[in-house]
């Protein structure tokens, strides 16, 4: 094999790569937080069939889980201006990620809430809890505890999916990688490095989600 690997370009683009990573992390943190928030709201609405939200959420979840993320992104960035709603690339990227994760997390969290044993709901009922108090104090934490691994995976998938946002010139990691390889023509090295960075980011996000889960959901006094 005559090809000579050359990674000497890395120091020249280190700052740009760091910015791309920061952008990707930022998109994931904002998208993940708001997406899970939407998921909790959606799960409640669907579980209790809160009118009109329960029905609206049903259509929203079906729409976003059965269409490609890239098309959703294009619809928001290129389609909405036709209706007079013009968003910056980063705004469109965040909105698409929030809506996409929101749809998946609605179903994930709903499954967790539905798995609450009937006996615990009856115990709370018998203690005169309101429906909202039951949700907040009896259902939510155990439900999130059950589905936290699935939710963590979905956040990682959303982070990986953010690479698609480079298609609308969002300056995240893949956008930076595309830019670098267009300058140095070192496609293998550039994308190999980018692959490693995404892999490290995925591990980091998974570990962060694990720690958040342990602190917020599984917290028990040490003994």
């Amino acid at each position: 094999m005559a090809y000579q690997f050359d990674f000497t370009f890395i120091p020249d683009y280190a700052g740009m790569l760091a910015q791309g990573v920061a952008y990707t992390v930022g998109l994931t943190v904002v998208g993940g937080t708001l997406g899970i928030g939407i998921g909790i709201g959606g799960a409640i609405s669907r579980l209790w069939n809160v009118r009109p939200f329960g029905e609206l959420y049903r259509y929203y979840v079906e729409l976003f889980r059965n269409t490609p993320f890239l098309v959703q992104l294009f619809l928001i960035f290129f389609g909405l201006p036709s209706l007079g709603i013009k968003l910056e690339a980063w705004q469109a990227a965040i909105l698409a990620m929030v809506l996409n994760l929101g749809a998946y997390s609605t179903e994930i969290i709903r499954a967790g809430l539905q798995a609450t044993p009937r006996g615990q709901l009856e115990a709370a009922d018998s203690l005169a809890f309101t429906r909202w108090q039951i949700f907040l104090h009896v259902m939510l934490r155990p439900a999130l505890r059950k589905v936290w691994p699935a939710l963590s995976s979905q956040v990682v998938i959303t982070m990986l999916g953010s690479s698609v946002c480079s298609q609308i010139s969002t300056e995240e990691l893949t956008f930076v990688a595309n830019f670098i390889q267009s300058r140095n023509f070192r496609a293998f090295e550039t994308y190999f490095l980018t692959t490693g960075m995404y892999f490290a980011l995925a591990l980091l996000i998974r570990q962060t989600m694990h720690l958040i889960g342990r602190y917020l959901i599984v917290r028990r006094p040490s003994r």
């Binding site: 006996g119 018998s126 203690l127 005169a128 309101t130 028990r220």
Partner: protein
Amino acid sequence: MPLVSTNRLHKFFGKNHVLRGIKLDVEEGEVVTIVGRSGSGKSTLLRTLNGLESIDDGIIEVDGAKLEVDCADAASLRALRLKVGMVFQQFNLFPHLSAGQNVMLAPQVVKGTAKSETEDIARRMLERVGLAEKFDAFPDQLSGGQQQRVAVARAIVNDPVIILGDEPTGNLDSRTAEEIMALFQDLNSAGKTVILVTHEQDIAEHCKRIIRFRDGHIISDEKVASPADARQILAKMPAGDEMVTHV
């Protein structure tokens, strides 16, 4: 005036007529046991008394809190449930909370009592059921009997006038069941009225009144003077309604 009163109580599950015009009065300080075969409606009756099952006709009154078929709103339900403590066969503790937190939650959330105060109340309640040292233990770290004791502490924390037990010893061995029954008797001595549904003869023997249920009707209602008296009443039960006895 009776503490608990139901009149022409009817309940249907689909076409199944489970409660057929139940009229029942329970006086303050009684320990009542409801016995009968599976599906006779005894648990359903108990569950209607704190609104866990809706009613299709009739009226329920517990210490002035009324529940009628056409005005079973949230406020009436809440008023009724604050008068009634319920203990379940499966304990139904909240698994993500410690024993202490299980007991603290209701006063904190339902009555808005300050956390520091509810902690004191919870410690007193757990001490009353003999589990003061298990305040920080989680349900999966407790035995069945201990879990049921915590469930009893949780049921009495809002100071209800009446305690309902739906097969409260059904998942326990005979010795632990005796301990739980002793706990119910202590509560009764302290002024609480107790209504229990059970399949177990040993439990029924501890009560002051035995009500026999069949096909949604009360078929007998007798005062009990002593355990021997209770055994005699239970021995008269028709075939198919026999009780379980611990060996």
